[in-house]
C-alpha cells in the first residue's frame, strides 16, 4: 500500500496549513534503488502535475511488484498551481531558482530545502513539467551537457528529442542542477493540459522506471516498442529564433513541423494597422521544437526554437 506523507507542512498567516505531498510506492532497504518524480515546481505548468498523478495511478496497480522505491511529488508549488502562476505567490519568487533552499529561510526557501533533503540520495530524479507560459513545446527531455549516461537513459523517455544543455548562469539554483543525472521532461502548452502530451509523458516516465530497474517490462501497460526513438542534440543544434520587430507574431508552423532553411516561420504584424513588419525565417533545416502561442512580442522575444536534425 502506498504511503502518503507531507515532506513539509507550512503555516499560512490566516492559520491554514499547506502540505507538500510525497507518495511513496514500494519498500525501501539497503541497496534498493529509489526514484524521485517531481512535478509542479512552477504553478503555470500543470501538465507535469497531471502526469505525476497518472504515473502514481499506474504504480498503485503494480506496487507489489516494484523492485525499488518510487517517490512521487505531484506538486511542489501548490499555491502557485492554485493560482496558475509560475512563481510562489506572495513572496513572488521562482521556486526553481531557490534550490537547495534554506532550512530557516522564508516559505519557498524552506520548501526547496525540504524537497532537496528528502530527495537527496535518490538513484534517479525525474522532473516533469509543462511548457512555460505563452509557448508550446514538443515533448523533449533535457539533460546536462556531457552527461552521456543521463542522455542514454532519456532516449527511453518516449520523447521526440533529447537536449543535452549547457547549464546557464542561473542553473546552479534550479532543482535539476542539485541532482546529477536528473532528466527533465517537458512538453505541451503553458498553463494548459493536452491529453496526447499527458499520455506520452506518462508512458515515458513509466518506461524510464523499467530502464532504471524498479519496474519490470512485464508490467508496462503498453509495448516498449511503441516508444518514440529520439535524437540527442546539443546547444549548437538548437536555434532560438527571435523577433526583430515589436508587434504581433502570427506563426505559420506548428510544433514538430519539418522546416527547410529559410522557410517562413511566421510574421510580425503591426498591432495597430496589421501591416507586416517582419517575416521570420527558419535559420536551419530541421524541426520546430517550440512555438510562441501568445502573439504579443517585443524586439528580442523568442518566437520559436528550431532544432537542426
Amino acid at each position: 500500500m502506498s504511503e502518503m506523507s507531507a515532506v513539509i507542512q507550512v503555516e499560512l498567516p490566516s492559520g491554514d496549513e499547506l502540505a507538500i505531498i510525497r507518495r511513496r510506492f514500494g519498500r525501501g532497504g539497503p541497496g534498493v534503488p529509489r526514484v524521485a518524480i517531481v512535478a509542479g515546481i512552477r504553478g503555470d505548468a500543470p501538465e507535469g502535475v497531471r502526469v505525476a498523478h497518472q504515473v502514481a495511478k499506474v504504480l498503485e496497480e503494480c506496487e507489489d511488484r516494484l523492485t525499488g522505491v518510487v517517490d512521487v511529488y505531484p506538486c511542489a508549488n501548490p499555491l502557485g498551481a492554485h493560482q496558475g502562476t509560475r512563481v510562489w505567490p506572495f513572496f513572488d519568487v521562482d521556486l526553481n531558482r531557490r534550490f537547495p533552499g534554506k532550512e530557516t529561510g522564508h516559505q519557498p526557501d524552506r520548501v526547496a530545502h525540504a524537497l532537496f533533503t528528502d530527495i537527496r540520495g535518490a538513484a534517479q530524479v525525474i522532473e516533469i513539467r509543462g511548457a512555460r507560459e505563452a509557448f508550446s513545446e514538443v515533448i523533449h527531455a533535457q539533460v546536462r551537457e556531457r552527461d552521456t549516461a543521463a542522455a542514454e537513459l532519456a532516449m527511453g523517455a518516449n520523447v521526440s528529442v533529447v537536449w543535452a544543455r549547457k547549464p546557464g548562469p542561473a542553473a546552479t539554483q534550479t532543482f535539476a542542477h542539485q541532482f546529477p543525472g536528473t532528466i527533465v521532461l517537458e512538453g505541451g502548452t503553458g498553463n494548459r493540459l493536452n491529453a496526447t502530451v499527458g499520455q506520452d509523458l506518462q508512458e515515458g516516465v513509466i518506461h524510464l522506471l523499467t530502464q532504471v530497474g524498479v519496474l519490470s517490462e512485464v508490467d508496462l501497460p503498453f509495448h516498449w516498442a511503441a516508444m518514440n526513438r529520439p535524437t540527442v542534440v546539443n546547444d549548437a543544434q538548437v536555434f532560438r529564433v527571435r523577433a526583430e520587430r515589436s508587434g504581433l507574431f502570427l506563426p505559420e508552423f506548428g510544433v514538430w513541423s519539418e522546416v527547410e532553411e529559410g522557410a517562413t516561420l511566421g510574421h510580425v504584424i503591426d498591432s495597430e494597422n496589421g501591416s507586416i513588419l517582419e517575416t521570420i525565417s527558419s535559420p536551419t533545416r530541421g524541426r520546430v521544437m517550440a512555438v510562441r502561442e501568445h502573439p504579443v512580442v517585443y524586439v528580442g522575444t523568442m518566437v520559436a526554437r528550431v532544432v537542426a536534425l
Binding site: G15, S271, Y298, V299
Partner: protein, 299 residues
C-alpha cells in the same frame, strides 16, 4: 537628457531609457534607480539629486538614470511586466537577447563610470531605513561611509551574482554600491530626501560637487554579525510597535504577532541588543520565519 536605448512596444508608445548627464571628465559617477518598477523612493531621490545638480558646476561627470523600468512603474510591478522578468537578473545583458537582456546591456554599457550606485526601495512588505548595504571594504567602504546615511551594512552576498547589476559592475572593475531606503509601492518622502542627500554627500566626497548637502551622520556602521534579525515564530498578524530609526534597548517591545481572527496575542518580539531599528515589517500578515524587525547594533 538623452535617450540611450529604445524599442517599439505593441499597443503602446516606445520604451525609452533616459540618461541625464552633468559635467565632463573624471571622476565619473553613474547613479541608477527604478530598475524595479515598484521601488519609488530611489526614483524620487535621483530626481531630487537632479535638481541639486542643476545649480552646480560638477567637477567630473555624473550620469543619472532616474527610472529604468518605466513600464513596470506604470503598473506598480517590480519586474518588466511583459514577460515578468527581473531586469536585475539580466546583467551584463545581451544586445541580441530578450527585451530585458537588451535593456540590461544598454544600461550596463552606458554606466561605464568609476563609481556606480544602484538605488532601491525595500520590498513592498517591509520598510527600510536609508542605508548602504553590500559586501564592501577599502575604497567602497569609504565611499559608503561618505554618504553619511543612517546605516552602513557590510552585508555578505547581496546581489553579487554576475547577473545582478552590482555584481556585473564589480566584475567589470567598477566601484559599486547598493543603496536602499523606505518601502516598495509607496513614496517615503522623508527617506527619499535622506537618500538624495546621501548621494549628494558622495559627490561632495569625490570632489564632483563643492559642498556636502547636510550635517547627516552614520548611526550604525555594522557587519552582518551586528545586525539582529527577528523572524516570526509563527504565522499571524504582526503589529509593529517601533518605526525605522527608533533607538532601542534590550527588552524593548518591537512588536507582537496576534491571531488574524480574534486578535489573541501569539508572540512578542523584543530587542536583544541596544541599537537602531533598521527594518520593520509593513504588511502585517506574516508567515512563520519571515523577517519582522532588524536592529542594527550601536555601541
Amino acid at each position: 537628457m538623452s535617450i540611450i536605448f529604445s524599442i517599439d512596444a505593441p499597443y503602446r508608445g516606445q520604451y525609452e531609457l533616459h540618461r541625464l548627464t552633468y559635467g565632463s571628465g573624471g571622476p565619473s559617477v553613474a547613479i541608477v534607480a527604478g530598475l524595479h518598477g515598484n521601488e519609488l523612493n530611489g526614483i524620487h531621490a535621483v530626481n531630487m539629486l537632479n535638481k541639486m545638480l542643476r545649480v552646480q558646476r560638477p567637477m567630473g561627470t555624473v550620469h543619472l538614470f532616474p527610472l529604468v523600468n518605466t513600464f513596470g512603474a506604470d503598473q506598480a510591478t517590480k519586474r518588466w511586466p511583459y514577460d515578468d522578468q527581473d531586469i536585475n537578473h539580466a546583467f551584463p545583458g545581451d544586445p541580441d537577447g530578450s527585451v530585458v537582456q537588451r535593456i540590461a546591456h544598454a544600461l550596463f554599457e552606458s554606466t561605464d563610470a568609476e563609481v556606480c550606485i544602484d538605488v532601491h526601495s525595500g520590498a513592498p512588505h517591509v520598510r527600510e531605513i536609508p542605508q548602504v548595504r553590500a559586501p564592501m571594504g577599502g575604497d567602497e567602504l569609504e565611499l559608503a561611509r561618505a554618504m553619511k546615511l543612517p546605516v552602513v551594512w557590510r552585508r555578505p552576498g547581496i546581489r553579487l551574482e554576475p547577473t545582478g547589476l552590482i555584481g556585473a559592475w564589480r566584475a567589470a572593475g567598477r566601484k559599486a554600491l547598493h543603496m536602499v531606503g523606505g518601502r516598495g509601492i509607496t513614496l517615503d518622502n522623508r527617506h527619499a530626501t535622506t537618500m538624495a542627500n546621501g548621494l549628494f554627500n558622495l559627490l561632495g566626497h569625490l570632489g564632483v560637487c563643492g559642498q556636502a548637502a547636510t550635517d547627516m551622520d552614520i548611526v550604525a556602521d555594522v557587519t552582518h554579525a551586528d545586525v539582529e534579525a527577528h523572524r516570526a515564530s509563527c504565522g499571524g498578524f504582526f503589529v509593529a510597535e517601533v518605526r525605522v530609526g527608533d533607538p532601542v534597548q534590550p527588552g524593548h517591545l518591537l512588536g507582537y504577532i496576534q491571531a488574524p481572527v480574534g486578535g489573541e496575542r501569539l508572540d512578542e518580539v523584543r530587542a536583544g541588543q541596544p541599537g537602531i531599528v533598521m527594518t520593520v515589517r509593513a504588511y502585517p500578515m506574516v508567515h512563520a520565519q519571515e523577517l519582522l524587525v532588524r536592529v542594527a547594533g550601536t555601541p
